[in-house]
């Protein structure tokens, strides 16, 4: 299972690096726990990622999170125009028999919501960093990004979390 996840994560990462814009290079690093962690993103300790590009930040859940949650069957997201606050829940995913809160890594105004997720919630499993993005936010306090983890720190965080359980 872990090796299959690694392979699919690698494929995803390669697709990301091929399809990304020329002025954005995305390398990937692999944690020993076989979840993909991407460079260029910031991470919350509740396993959400944020990609800040100019005036907009894109938010989703990490490969580690989707792997631990299982097959996502339903996603509840806020409406465009709503607000999110750092560390507070903005939506939920349903997987297995559970609904799990998704918490925002930053505060701001929701400017776009991924409408594909209502028909295809499994995108969160198959493409957590690309097609499975959840919301785009106009950050209200860009300095909040500094309190988040970088890729290496998040990789270590995942390893420690998995090792201690």
């Amino acid at each position: 299972m872990a090796l299959r996840m690694w392979a699919s994560s690698t494929a995803n990462a390669l697709k990301i690096s091929c399809s990304s814009k020329p002025n954005v290079s995305l390398a990937f690093s692999l944690s020993r726990c076989f979840s993909t962690v991407l460079d260029g993103l910031k991470y919350a300790n509740s396993h959400e990622w944020v990609k800040h590009e100019g005036p907009v930040a894109t938010i989703g859940i990490t490969d580690h999170a989707q792997d631990h949650l299982g097959e996502v069957v339903f996603v509840e997201l806020p409406e465009q125009g709503g607000s999110v606050s750092q560390g507070k829940g903005f939506g939920a995913v349903e997987s297995v028999k559970a609904t799990s809160d998704i918490n925002s890594p930053i505060s701001g105004e929701v400017v776009e919501v991924n409408s594909k997720l209502s028909e295809t919630p499994g995108l969160i499993n198959s493409s957590p960093y690309e097609d499975g993005w959840m919301i785009k936010v106009k950050p209200s306090s860009p300095s909040e990004l500094e309190s988040l983890m970088g890729p290496k720190e998040y990789t270590k965080f995942c390893e420690e979390e998995d090792a201690s359980h």
């Binding site: 949650l69 339903f74 607000s83 939920a92 028999k97 559970a98 609904t99 799990s100 201690s164």
Partner: protein, 333 residues
């Protein structure tokens, strides 16, 4: 949609509050809504806990874990469970399932303590669907409407059940650190709960967790659902101690079914716990199994009063006739 008023416990403020919520709240807020949700008042210090917060509420009734001194009012705490995490235990009989769900969601979202709730049956037969359930796919809506069976959408994930006085409910609400080495994700929590019930059913009926159901052999008798927040989780189970065969006819064969069901009809798929264990034995053994991991403190519902009715709006609610009608029409078109 009309539903019967609760027939018991008129003095319970929280129950009345929960009923008021179900009437007065419109579409419940998503978790992102910045509703002010103060924590429930802190409970009196547990005998084993010497660092609890201040007392806000009286217990109201004698707490059986306390031993009273003979000549004075001083209470002598029991010490046998020092070192185990604390868990409050509430037991009900026949509590309406909507009230149970409201209490659970409030405790999940606003309490910082661990809880176990046991509800021995619920008053009226009620269909309960999961947070994302589509009524038209899950229910024989015409029959449900004709017979006016109440339908609740609950706040946790998972599938559809029809519950009544033959259903026994057991719920665990925990901080994520409460169970050592447990990651707050669906499968680890499911695995933990099944190990607890393995103690209850040891040597009985080939009990195990099969995919996400509790089974004897390959017959389901317990359905599970969860909700996981940033720092806490709830795992609740409805156990079919007994059921009414006719009630199963309100439920369709779900699109998402476990593989081991093998397309069996409801009646070929489920079984009754009463064929394996007496009802009171099950509840007592469940409490005993819980006590191996937690220091349990019985709590009466009166002890957990909300500060005001407006501060927490639970999301579990009855679906209206109009909603069910609309679902039936949408399916046909």
């Amino acid at each position: 949609r009309h539903h019967s008023q609760p027939a018991i416990v008129p003095q319970l403020h929280l129950l009345q509050t929960a009923t008021a919520f179900s009437r007065s709240c419109s579409r419940p807020p998503l978790p992102s809504s910045p509703a002010i949700v103060p924590p429930l008042p802190s409970l009196p210090p547990h005998p084993a806990d010497h660092s609890s917060s201040l007392l806000h509420q009286q217990l109201g009734k004698e707490n059986p874990t306390w031993n009273s001194g003979s000549d004075s009012k001083m209470l002598i705490p029991q010490t046998k469970n020092i070192g185990l995490p604390l868990m409050n235990l509430m037991r009900f009989k026949g509590l309406p399932i909507l009230q149970q769900l409201h209490i659970e969601e409030q405790l999940l979202r606003t309490s910082s303590e661990n809880w176990c709730i046991v509800n021995d049956g619920t008053n009226d037969p009620t269909i309960v669907i999961g947070v994302s359930g589509k009524p038209a796919e899950l229910l024989e809506i015409e029959s449900v409407l004709d017979d006016q069976v109440p339908v609740i959408r609950r706040f946790t994930g998972g599938g559809t059940v029809i519950v009544d006085h033959g259903t026994v409910f057991v719920t665990f609400i925990c901080n994520k650190e409460a169970v050592p080495n447990l990651q707050p994700y669906p499968r680890p929590i499911m695995s933990w709960s099944s190990s607890l019930y393995s103690k209850v059913f040891q040597g009985i009926g080939d009990f195990h967790l099969r995919e996400n159901d509790y089974v004897f052999g390959n017959h389901k008798f317990g359905g599970n659902a969860q909700s996981i927040t940033k720092n806490r989780w709830i795992h609740h189970t409805s156990f079919l101690w007994d059921f009414n065969v006719q009630n199963m006819s309100y439920l369709k064969h779900p699109k998402r079914a476990p593989a081991y069901r093998s397309a069996r009809s409801h009646l070929d798929f489920i079984c009754r716990m009463k064929d394996y264990m007496p009802r009171s034995t099950f509840m007592d053994k469940t409490v005993e199994a819980t006590e191996t991991q937690f220091s349990l403190r019985p709590i009466q519902l009166e002890a957990i009063r909300t500060c005001s009715e407006a501060e927490f709006c639970p999301s579990s609610r009855f679906l209206t006739n109009e909603e069910l009608d609309a679902a039936a029409v949408a399916l046909q078109s």
